[in-house]
Structure formats: C-alpha cells, structure tokens
Amino acid sequence: MNALGVAIRVEARKARAARPVLATSVLFAGGLLALAIGMTLAASSGRPELVGKLGPLADARGWELYLGVAIQVAGAAGLLATGVVLAYLVGREFGDGTIAGLFALPVPRAVILAAKVVVFLAWSLVLALAVGLAVLLGGLALGLEGQPGDVAAALVRLVALVPLSALTAVPVALAASLGRGLLPGIGLAVVLLAAAQVAVVAGAGPWFPVATGALWAIDPAAVPPLAFLPAVTLPVAAGLVSARVWSRLQLDR
C-alpha cells in the first residue's frame, strides 16, 4: 500500500476511536435537529416575538420553514463544529506530544497531514448524510406540508452545506500547525465564523469565501457559480501550505 493509503487508514482509525470527534458530531446533529423542530413548532404556535426573529423565513411555513432553520443553523454551527474537529485532528499531535513519533517514518509528514484532511472531509460527508437523514425523519414525524420537489432540493442543499463548511474550515489545519496545538485552530474557527457573519451583515456577500457555501444553501440564486472559485481556492491553498509546514517542521520549541 502506498504512503497515503497507509496514512489514511491510520488516521481513519484514530478518528473513529476519538471521543471529541464523536461528541462534536452528536452535538452538532442533535442541536441542529432540536433547533429546527423547536423553531418550527414555536412559529406554528404564532408567537409574534419568535416569528419576528426568523427574518426572511418569517412568512415560511411547514417544510420550508423547518429546512430553512436547519440550513441557517448548519451554516453557522457547521463551520464551528468542523473547525473544532479539524483543530483536534491536527493540533492533538502537538498537544499530546505524539508529533515526535511522526518523524523518521517511511510515511512523510506532509502525507500524514494530507491524510488528516482527507479523513476530515470524509467524516464531514458521513456527518452530512446523518444530519440529512435525521432532519428528514424529524420533518416526517412532524407531518409538515410542502412541495416534494422543493423539500428535496432544500434537503440536498442542507446535506451539501456540511462538507462545504468543512472545506471552508481547512485553514484551521494551518493555524493548528503553525500554533502547534488545538487552541490556535479553534481560535481561527471562531474568527472564520465571526468574519462570515460580519461579511454577510456588511453586504460582502457570496464573494467572501467563508460565507459562499452558507449563502448558496440559503438561496442558490443569490450566488453566482464563479463565487465558488475563491471559496475553493482558499482551503486548497491553506491545505498545501499546511503540508509544507509539516514537511519542514522542526521540534525546536
């Protein structure tokens, strides 16, 4: 097996057994489902103070409201949850001191970092499918009304938003590598989330790479396809620089 294959198997095994990864997944999926169900039930009870807070979703009902809330929550919390997991996957080697054991191996360190990112993106796909299924079952249980075509399209956007958020979070790997620990990575995840919120409020819109995925999931018509170019370029560049950092790493501090 080649070096990348070995590294992916090793990293996947570690991630599967890691409690922080499982805990973050459960919290994200459970929290998102609870918020979507709670807001939908509250809005249908007609409480004006709540309906007012729903913004563009204030007039929505049934599946449209339910999936709209789920997408809004996934857009913000998804960036934080995936950022935390990536910060853990990369930063824990420094925090636990196991980085020393990743030297002097036939598997180069840059390949190990690449394997971490691959496993991270694969995990985000699994999480996305689990969230999609949970939200679908939740909506069916609530007996919501809506057009099947619209429901399916919104559900697909919700599922796509999780790996898109994971992709957006890739610069966290660079922060955890340069800062040599979990906290710098988690710190950057929080900064990315805040930056996305500010950018949306300030009207920077879909061309701001951190916000592109979430804005597309909320309203695909508002995001030109070319806006995904910076949104993809940034994480790819951050990933390549992270691999370089791992390759040139010295245990000098």
Partner: protein, 241 residues
C-alpha cells in the same frame, strides 16, 4: 558501514543553548549510550539524528546515507522513542502497535508484528485496553514496543527504561540486547548508570552541549567516573561554580 554517523554537528537555539561539534558513531551490533546531566544536550543529539532538528553545521548519516538525501522508504529501517511514546489514548495496546507497524512500512504483516510485540514486551493483558487507561510505565512499554517491533537496523531511544517497573526494565533490556546481537545499532540515553553498564558497549559523556569523552562500561564505579569527567570538563572550560 555504520548505522549512525554524526560528523561535526552543531545546532544552536536562540539564547545560545544547543549542541556543538558532535561526532558520534553507532556501529552495527552496538548499544551506544549517552549519559550526562539534565539539559546536557542528549535529547537534542537524538533529535538531530532523527531529522527532528536540522543541523546548523555538520552532517548526519544513517547507514551511510545523509539525512537530507534519504529516500522516505529507508526510514522503515529506523525505530525511535524520543520523549513521548507514539501511543494514542483512544486506541488499544494492540491498535497502537498495529498503526506503529503500518507507519513503519509493515503492510499486511502489521497485525502479526504487533501481536508478536505484545508477547515480547509482556503487554498481552493490555491488548484490548485503551492506552489512556494504562499507567505511565505501561504506556512507555507500548512506546518501546512500537519503536522496536519492526526490528529496525537503527533504534534511537531516549530514556527507554523511564517509569518502567523492574520486570519492564528486564524485558526492555533483553529486547535491546537481542536486536544488537542481530546486528542493529542502538543509541540510548539514560540516567540509570547501573542499567547502562549492563547493556552498553560504548558510553559517551555529554556536558553543556558537547561530547567530552567516554566511560568504560566495565568500569567499577561509573557514577564516580562520570562526575570526575564532568568536573574536569567544567574546570577546563571555566564553567565550574
């Protein structure tokens, strides 16, 4: 061919600490021990030998292959434990040894190698136990097993008997001697001079970032000889308090 050769290696850190002009050879079949006080530079020398630090000057070669030009696959012939064992708390004893073997290029044989290592290092009881539940000493045992299980031609072990109980010390001692007998070169550091005297073929003394001489492993009072060497060096360099 020497397993490890460091020639005139210097690496300094900000503030002036570091190691200077290190010349060191580990021959096949040799257990070469580094001794010295805390902060003398033993761990820095080991990090330089493994590419964890790049020298400011000088050259490091493993099996006569300079580190900078070494093909990644050749690292399969090296095993090491410097400071922290490669042992992840969430994985079991066996799981950690399996990933250690695979990362050292064992491929499909990884599982068989890991199982043999469990037996050799007396870790069968911890086969299915997550390493986070193990004592410090048993975690160290897992780390040593992971460093030696693939029978490397060169092993670099920083304080290998650290935190081990007496039976663990004997297991590790026998494992080191077996590998040296089979032709491996081993570079170890230790504060346990009795232990060093039992297994080392060559003892190098490190003081204040430099190699200042050797001790005879057959010497009668190693502790006294070590302190005499350190004192003489401190007097010669004007560093004595």
């Amino acid at each position: 061919m020497s397993r490890l050769r460091m020639r005139d290696v210097t690496r300094l850190f900000a503030g002036g600490a570091g190691v200077r002009e290190i010349d060191l050879v580990v021959e096949p079949g040799q257990i070469h021990a580094l001794v010295g006080l805390n902060g003398a530079g033993k761990t820095t020398i080991m990090r330089l030998a493994l590419g964890m630090l790049r020298p400011d000057a000088g050259e490091v070669a493993i099996d006569d292959e300079p580190l900078g030009r070494r093909a990644p696959a050749l690292w399969a012939r090296v095993g090491h434990l410097v400071e922290t064992p490669l042992a992840y708390g969430e994985l079991t004893g066996l799981g950690n040894l399996e990933i250690g073997a695979r990362l050292h290029g064992a491929g499909r044989r990884g599982s068989a190698i890991a199982r043999a290592a469990l037996a050799e290092f007396g870790l069968e009881a911890y086969r299915d136990v997550p390493v986070r539940r193990l004592s410090l000493g048993n975690r160290q045992r897992v780390g040593i097993a992971s460093a030696l299980q693939h029978d490397p031609a060169l092993a670099v072990l920083d304080e290998p008997t650290n935190a081990l109980d007496p039976s663990g010390v004997i297991r590790v001692r026998e494992a080191l001697l077996r590998r040296a007998d089979a032709g491996a070169g081993l570079l170890i550091s230790s504060h346990h001079l009795d232990e060093v005297a039992r297994i080392a073929h060559r003892i190098t003394v490190v003081n204040r970032g430099r190699i200042i001489g050797t001790l005879d492993p057959a010497g009668r009072d190693l502790e006294r000889e070590l302190f005499e060497a350190l004192h003489a060096d401190d007097v010669a360099t004007g560093a004595a308090a």
